[in-house]
Amino acid sequence: MIYLKLFYEFFKIGLFAVGGGMATLPFLQRLGESTGWFDQMLITDMVAISESTPGPIGINMATYVGYNVAGFWGGFAATMGEVMPCVVLVILFSKFLNKLSGNKYLDFAFYGMRPAVTGLIAAAAVSVMQVAVFNTELFKQTGVITDLADPKKIIYFVIVFWAIKKFKKHPITYIAASAVIGLIFMF
């Protein structure tokens, strides 16, 4: 049953996504690949929407993916699945808080997980870029270098990245501006 499967998959994501924000991204990308529930294009839409709306990004992404896979109840199942391990862990931690806070093995585990998760997100970013900025599929078929990338998109990528670094505004600013630019320049 699709709802149970969604719940289970997002339960795993909630349990193993460490570091907040984009941490669920590599899991979602792999989920799309292994189940065929959604393609890479949905991932960029998902990040855009999750960044532009209030609420934790990880939860927004779960709801969005779940909705696209199986409608409202799909979104509900995915969201609940992702929240469940958080609630269980929080309750366990609260009961044993004195023993666990500042536990050195927990710190050691995070010492390994933080750079690892960064690497996983970087890998997810590479495959998202292959769809959003480059067109590696077309390039593989034709072998023509001009098919690999649309110069417009590469230039735009550099400009947006520079703007993010320079102005440090909320992501919704850049996303909204990009939508307008996409319409004007026919991306």
Partner: protein, 167 residues
């Protein structure tokens, strides 16, 4: 999230002190799961035990469920519209830049030495070129961190003692 927590929980409801909220925020960040849900859960547990934690977690996710469902429903009706596609394809370039930006800030926080760099590189390669589940990769990196740090501590402490269990 912190400014809102401070205003609502500390100043308005007077449920917890500011120090408590900061502590929960710190723990919520350094455990698995969605940070905002974790922090909400801790605060809920302080008030009403298990039921409080569940209520707080549901409170955090409810707005997301409603807002995202509405947006996703609207978007799926317009997805094939040519103008929407133009807009979204520029947005997806922007999203790549945003992801890159958050990778850089995670890098600054997480990759602190050669061990971190090696783990980063291994994960990047494993995720890109193999089918290994990211769940397994995260678990392995946690175990790796524990072993590496424990060995480091062992070597620092037992410099004199020779032999012993080293690996």
């Amino acid at each position: 999230m912190l400014p809102i927590l401070r205003r609502e929980i500390v100043e308005k409801e007077k449920w917890l002190s500011e120090e408590d909220v900061m502590d929960f925020y710190a723990i919520g960040q350094s455990m698995p799961g969605i940070i905002a849900v974790n922090v909400g859960g801790f605060i809920g547990y302080q008030r009403k035990k298990e039921a409080g934690a569940v209520a707080a977690a549901l409170g955090v996710v409810s707005p997301c469920l409603i807002i995202i469902t509405i947006i996703a429903a609207c978007l799926s009706n317009f997805q094939d519209n040519v103008y929407v596609r133009h807009a979204l394809s520029a947005v997806s370039v922007c999203v790549c830049a945003l992801i890159l930006d958050s990778i850089i800030s995670m890098w600054k926080k997480g990759v602190k030495d050669i061990f971190g760099f090696v783990l980063f590189a291994i994960m990047l390669v494993a995720m890109t070129f193999t089918e290994i589940s990211p769940v397994l990769l995260v678990v392995l990196s946690a175990v790796g961190g524990i072993i590496y740090k424990s060995l480091q501590g062992l070597f620092a402490k037992n410099d004199k003692e020779k032999g012993g269990k080293q690996k």
